[in-house]
Symmetry: C2
Subunit: 294 residues, 2 copies
């Protein structure tokens, strides 16, 4: 990781985490509900989506408080999806990032409701961001709903579950990931551009970058499931192979998956080069996504 | 039921149901997900919340297409809450309105995701309602998030579950219902006032009416659990007594609960009388809530 990115992370991640904490602490709700929401929000993670929001804003030289709130909102949506994904009726995971999953601590009912509460809260926070012009705020709500719902993340979850019982083609597998993880990642990048008042053309370039970053992210996830250890990942390694899941290495061999990863990396970098000015941070983030070991 | 209300229902409920159908059909999502969302949306129900949206608009002589969309959105949120509420980890209900519950047809994972998709879709639809001025649209998103989330419906669900293992006081019981069912009902009434450009004073009067209607609705629910039959209700009657649940009749006796119901009805009507003009429909709806037998 470059010094630039390391410093950017150290300067920004704590602020995003503090913002999430404040946003949940400020609501009037039963104590146990707030506690379970905060339990999962504070369970760590790479905070990749918040970093993309802020890196895009930084590219346009816009550094204001709104970025942290939007970053916190996106991380709330990501966190709710993990809470529901870990439930016994879904992936039935007991550990996430080395900590007990939400339902192992609070029970299945409260975990379901903590997820629902985070999902619902996210939209209210966006709507109440007085500093952002109304039309931009509505665009954020509109696009987050699309990215997180049936047309994006939730739809991708459905495709992923359906895919467990059959052999997927490469294009079907890509479609799972474009929705399941890609849609929210794209929104992270696009939301940064919306807050920074980027032009439509700039937004389109960034969405193209985001598309390839999202796929690269997932391919590296599949590779780490094979090459990583449970300790290093904070979740059970080798799960995909054990469950005979359709993954990039399963479809393309490990060597083929690594080539595909490189292809998407190259296309992401190529998209960035179309921007009027250089963005070291966005390039560094692409490197990080491809080379991360957890 | 008065002829006026009967006609109002016949004229409006089919349009709301058609709107829900269209809004879900129009999204690009996996077929099984749309099917399971529609299964629960089309499973019938009293459509009380949509009726309140439209009756309030009617009171202000505003009859436009937006009311149907907002009514459909609120019914989507209500439906998602029922899907999650029926899950084995929550109430574990097999039937709702005489039909199999969502998870009995589609499985627990898909039911969880269908609920998540409806919740998420609701906010996107509001944000995209081009006919409503941006600031009003943002107010709708803001207030729906508050009513449906940790500070309202989801928080009330948590209180309800916590209450299952202890004897609640009357004020604790009231707090459960003010949140669990009251908050979304209040939003139905307030959203109608927002679309109709009601004054702040008028909105406050209607929120007062809504508060008492919400409690009356719940007390009648508790009474029907004792006096109704499973066939008539479309859900298992006598469940509250069997599970020794804190209800109005349990805390106040059946006679006491009926008196309380009448008190809230009277207070709702008294609130209505503060409005500049009479509202027959809102009075009829209050009567219906109190006298309904399912």
């Amino acid at each position: 990781m470059t010094e630039l990115l390391k410093e950017f992370m150290a300067n920004n991640i704590p602020t995003v985490e503090k913002r999430m904490q404040e946003l949940v602490e400020n609501i009037e709700a039963p104590a146990v509900l707030k506690e379970s929401m905060l339990y999962s929000l504070n369970a760590g993670g790479k905070r990749v989506r918040p970093l993309f929001v802020l890196a895009v804003m930084d590219h346009f030289n816009v550094r204001n408080d709104d970025g942290f709130t939007v970053a916190a909102v996106i991380e709330m949506i990501h966190t709710y999806s993990l809470i529901h994904d870990d439930l016994p009726s879904m992936d039935n995971d007991e550990y996430r990032r080395g900590k007990l999953t939400n339902h192992k601590v609070y029970g299945d009912a409260f975990a379901t409701l903590a997820g629902d509460a985070l999902n619902t809260l996210a939209f209210g926070i966006l709507a109440r961001m007085q500093q952002i012009p109304p039309v931009s705020r509505l665009l954020l709500v509109d696009k987050l709903s699309e990215a997180a719902g049936a047309e994006g993340m939730v739809g991708g979850q459905i495709l992923d579950i359906e895919g467990e019982t059959k052999q997927l083609t490469l294009s079907e597998l890509e479609n799972v990931h474009v929705n399941k993880t890609g849609a929210l990642l794209r929104f992270s990048i696009e939301s940064g551009a919306i807050i920074a008042n980027a032009t439509k053309a700039e937004r389109a370039i960034l969405v193209e970058y985001a598309h390839h970053i999202g796929l690269a992210f997932q391919i590296q996830d599949d590779i780490l499931d094979i090459e990583g250890t449970t300790e290093q990942l904070g979740k059970t390694a080798g799960k995909d192979v054990a469950s005979d899941k359709s993954t990039y290495p399963a479809l393309l061999t490990l060597v083929g998956a690594k080539e595909k990863l490189q292809d998407h990396y190259n296309l992401a970098i190529k998209a960035l080069e179309k921007l009027p000015s250089e963005s070291s941070l966005l390039k560094d983030l692409a490197d990080y996504i491809v080379h991360r070991n957890k």
